[in-house]
Symmetry: C3
Subunit: 135 residues, 3 copies
């Protein structure tokens, strides 16, 4: 069995944005030489997250950020005094890890699926950990 | 160590509905003959998702769909022009994968827990991948 | 390869609260003697959940509970007759499992990250399962 980690750097340039990290996750799986197993992508930040969704129309990503803002509005009251209270809540809603199957040495993603890093309190220098396990 | 994948077909019949796939996940774990490990259920769609919640009262499933509609209303504005903008957002909120422990060859689920596929833009022919890893 | 489970008891004392289980997850990883792999924490309840977020300012945890209440209000209508309808929905939004990488025998958590159990319909005697897999 192989276990292989790669830490990638994800620089962000806006307060909120989504960044397609699919090619980097696929490349890490190829480098791990695992044919059957899992890959987990985890984010060690509390105001950023990862998710899987549509890769074709960038408007889907915009809609997600707009909808999160409607659900967790910046102008509501937050006890956390640093001004990024809503970013923490959004990060919990989206989640800090994604797990995908690896079959025949390929990440099991649908035709329209991409794997996205979402910045919720940027711009910052961020990282994500890609862990591959399998045979 | 064993890694075993099964792809199941999940036909849906409504625009939004939840479908209990617990028996199919349990059967896949039995077929994999893994005593100790993990099972991950992943969905390769961008307007469907998976989650774990109550299996006793079907009203809990209805409440979930109602609450998601209240949070991500169909009549809000979405940039995505295909009319299923809210379905994409709901799919991210619920999540496209679930991970559960396998102990003594059984999926570690509570008495009141079931594993559900949720259709958010149906009806469609859907699939889910069940991946088992362990000994 | 090692697969090791630990079931921990999490007694809760309030209707809603977050409980830091990071030290217990780290101790379970140490006991499993796994250097490289994964740990998954799963909750076998339908009105409780787990998540990763800030461990420094407890106000972040309060903000999360307040924001969830705003999104899934207790005074909205729920079909589920037991009075804990919103708790079920909140549990799905937060999620019943968290996956983290293990590197060099350490759980890969950021400086400001902790792993939290969230009670949404307490007080109750709860449990969580910590599963470690790797070498």
């Amino acid at each position: 069995m192989t276990v292989r980690h790669e830490k990638i750097t994800v620089p962000t340039t806006m307060r909120e944005e989504t960044i397609d990290i699919t090619p980097r996750v696929k490349a890490a799986v190829t480098r791990a030489k695992v044919h059957e197993g899992f890959v987990a992508v985890t984010v060690a930040h509390t105001t950023a997250a990862v998710f899987v969704n549509e890769n074709a129309d960038p408007d889907v990503q915009k809609d997600l950020l707009t909808a999160l803002e409607r659900m967790v509005p910046r102008d509501a009251k937050y006890a956390h005094a640093e001004g990024n209270g809503p970013a923490h809540v959004k990060a919990v809603l989206v989640g800090n890890s994604v797990t995908l199957a690896i079959r025949n040495a390929e990440v099991e993603l649908g035709t329209w699926q991409g794997l996205y890093f979402v910045e919720l309190d940027g711009p910052r220098e961020r990282t994500a950990t890609i862990t591959v396990i399998g045979d």
